[in-house]
């Protein structure tokens, strides 16, 4: 199984120095991303999804973030690499798409120039070859050819996100980290971008870490899913399995929050409260204060149990009672 992993994260913890103290943004996160797989990472705002993806890219501010644990990417230990070696990996082996397409392109470069820059950085192509390749990439992501020389401010959010995607895949990366790439887009564009990402994943055979807070998106695109809560991964399973048989109370609550258009119209379920501020590491289960099943045993932190392909961290889920609480 280990050999199938493109990315293996073990016991990753990130502490951030802030003006108000140390925040334990994520603690003890372990994650496996298989080759050629789309892995979803789901959770509320502020639960550590972006911190996880940024620590894979090593994009966190060096002085103010303390990272421990290990991240293995295709045989190299990312946390041990020098900044120079890491810069070589970024964009070439691992690349990233950001949430805000409106601001993640340099305002002074045309769509094509953005791609040419990325290609110039990682390849030895000649100028003409770069231009040719950039135009092909733009075409591949469904960007109209006649707008290749437009500046970002002249493009819509969806178009900019296409440029971002083209830039991210320009050097055939093995891993693409998509940090809520569709959050800022409207639903029709969202569907197009998702379809594009899935096609590209098939075509290039890359793995994708897909960060989102939207289970609808997860069901459309992901092969496996991990659910994060307050800096921990609480449940990991194949996407269909997780959606049809969620075990962790938090996952259930999240899925319960999705409005359904048909059937009986009940009051929309809302999970009360908000995730804890992580200024110190709690001993108890982090979800306990918001969990309707919480009891005395939740005063200790739950460990991960695995049944088949389903891993969950909850005292109330026993190994033999799959799905039963």
């Amino acid at each position: 199984m280990e050999n199938d992993n493109l990315l293996t994260i073990r016991n990753l913890s990130v502490e951030l120095m802030t003006a108000r103290g140390v925040v334990h943004a994520i603690s003890g996160v372990s994650l496996d991303i298989y080759r050629g797989n789309i892995h979803g990472l789901v959770g509320e705002s502020g639960c550590g999804k972006s911190i996880t993806s940024k620590s894979i890219m090593r994009l966190l501010p060096e002085g103010r973030a303390r990272i421990s644990g290990s991240i293995d990417f295709d045989g190299s230990k990312l946390l041990a690499l020098s900044e120079k070696q890491m810069a070589k990996l970024r964009g070439a082996e691992i690349s990233m798409i950001f949430q805000e397409p409106m601001t993640s392109l340099s305002p002074l470069k045309t769509a094509r120039a953005q791609l040419e820059g990325a290609l110039a950085n990682h390849t030895n192509l000649s100028r003409a070859e770069r231009r040719f390749r950039a135009e092909n990439l733009l075409e591949r992501v469904g960007f109209p050819r006649d707008r290749a020389k437009r500046y970002p401010f002249e493009l819509s959010g969806g178009m900019r996100q296409r440029v971002m995607i083209a830039q991210a895949i320009s050097c055939n990366p093995k891993l693409l980290i998509a940090d809520e790439p569709t959050t800022a887009l409207d639903v029709t564009i969202q569907a197009q971008i998702l379809a594009l990402l899935r096609d590209l994943q098939n075509e290039y055979g890359m793995s994708v870490l897909f960060v989102t807070h939207n289970f609808g998106v997860v069901s459309q695109i992901c092969d496996r899913v991990s659910v994060m809560y307050a800096g921990n991964i609480v449940e990991t399973a194949a996407a269909e399995e997780l959606l049809s048989n969620p075990m962790h109370p938090y996952t259930r609550a999240l899925i319960g929050c999705i409005p359904r258009g048909s059937g009986q119209r009940d009051r929309l379920f809302a999970l009360p409260g908000s995730p804890p501020l992580l200024y110190e590491i709690p001993d108890a289960c982090r979800f306990a204060p918001r969990c309707k099943y919480a009891d005395e045993q939740c005063l200790s932190a739950p460990y991960h149990r695995t049944t088949g392909t389903h891993t969950v961290a909850c005292h109330h889920v026993s190994a033999d009672s799959a799905g039963g609480i």
Binding site: L59, R90, F98, S106, A168
Partner: protein
């Protein structure tokens, strides 16, 4: 106030730009326009008043003032550009790098700049002139260095804003090296503001160079320079006031034009300062009398 500001067309800036262009062209074409040679003396005309023969009069040695202002402008303007260029060459990379990397490097650069800023720039230039030697070259280098700290500060703060934008993070995620990001991403995006600062500094440079020449540390005698001419004219303020007045006016006029032009450019580049198109006809601001009447009415209504 706001309405007045918004209603103002860029006419002023255009006029300033045109005047500035006129000054620059006239100075550049000095050998063609000037009626006399730069140091051509005619002792009979010593301290002559403005007349058809000497448009702006003549100085102690009988040298034509108009001619010397044209030639002096070349020296003054070119050395001002030299000052600003030198400060930009040192200051811009320093500001970008210290802003982008932060940490120890930034602390050292910033404290060093604070130290230099603590001196008035003219005083600093004075000290540096003594180090580099009198004369135009020394003055330009000295002023150039004296201008560095302010520029570093401006560029650094622009970099701090820019480096936290997502596109910089995105550029890092593509694997660009820090130097590439600094000079190809951050710098072009700050360039508009830096250009305005550049032009503003140009005005200050003219004034400061004139100051240095006035003190006798810049341009040395036979060469014409606005500051040096002002200094020479000071000795004849009563018998021939135009000798000091004319170079002084040209200095004021060029600096004023540069600054006005800068303001105009800044307003043009900054969308927040531009009037928005509106369907509503702009209302005329209330006259002072109307305001007073309205206030009185309100006071009466409250029973005062």
């Amino acid at each position: 106030m706001k309405t007045a500001n918004m209603a103002r067309p860029p006419v002023v800036a255009i006029i300033a730009g045109a005047l500035l262009a006129l000054i620059i062209i006239a100075c550049a074409a000095a050998p063609l326009i000037a009626p006399y040679g730069m140091s051509e003396q005619n002792l009979k005309d010593s301290l002559a008043s403005p007349s058809a023969k000497h448009l702006l009069g003549a100085d102690k040695m009988g040298r034509d003032l108009f001619t010397r202002i044209l030639y002096g402008g070349r020296v003054t303007l070119i050395s001002a550009v030299g000052v600003v260029t030198l400060s930009a060459v040192i200051g811009i990379p320093l500001g970008l790098i210290s802003g982008y990397f932060g940490g120890m490097l930034d602390a050292i650069v910033s404290r060093f700049c604070d130290m230099l800023i603590a001196f008035p720039s003219l005083l600093l230039a004075l000290v540096l002139v003594f180090a580099f030697g009198r004369g135009l070259g020394g003055a330009v280098v000295a002023m150039g260095i004296a201008f560095v700290p302010m520029l570093v500060r401006v560029v650094r703060s622009l970099t701090l804003v820019e480096k936290n934008k997502t596109y910089v993070e995105a550029a890092r995620s593509i694997g660009f090296s820090p130097m590439y990001i600094i000079f190809k991403h951050i710098f072009p995006n700050c360039a508009a503001t830096i250009a305005v600062q550049f032009a503003l500094d140009l005005g200050y440079a003219i004034l400061s160079l004139a100051g240095l020449s006035f003190l006798g540390l810049g341009v040395q005698p036979p060469t014409a320079d606005w500051g040096a001419m002002l200094s020479e004219g000071r000795d004849f303020l009563l018998p021939a006031p135009w000798l000091a007045l004319c170079p002084g006016l040209v200095i004021v006029l060029s600096v004023l034009c540069i600054n006005t032009l800068c303001d105009g450019i800044q307003q043009y580049l900054d969308p927040a300062q531009q009037p928005l198109p509106s369907f509503r006809r702009r209302e005329k601001p209330l006259e002072a009398a109307e305001v007073r009447a309205a206030n009185l009415k309100e006071g009466a209504a409250r029973g005062e």
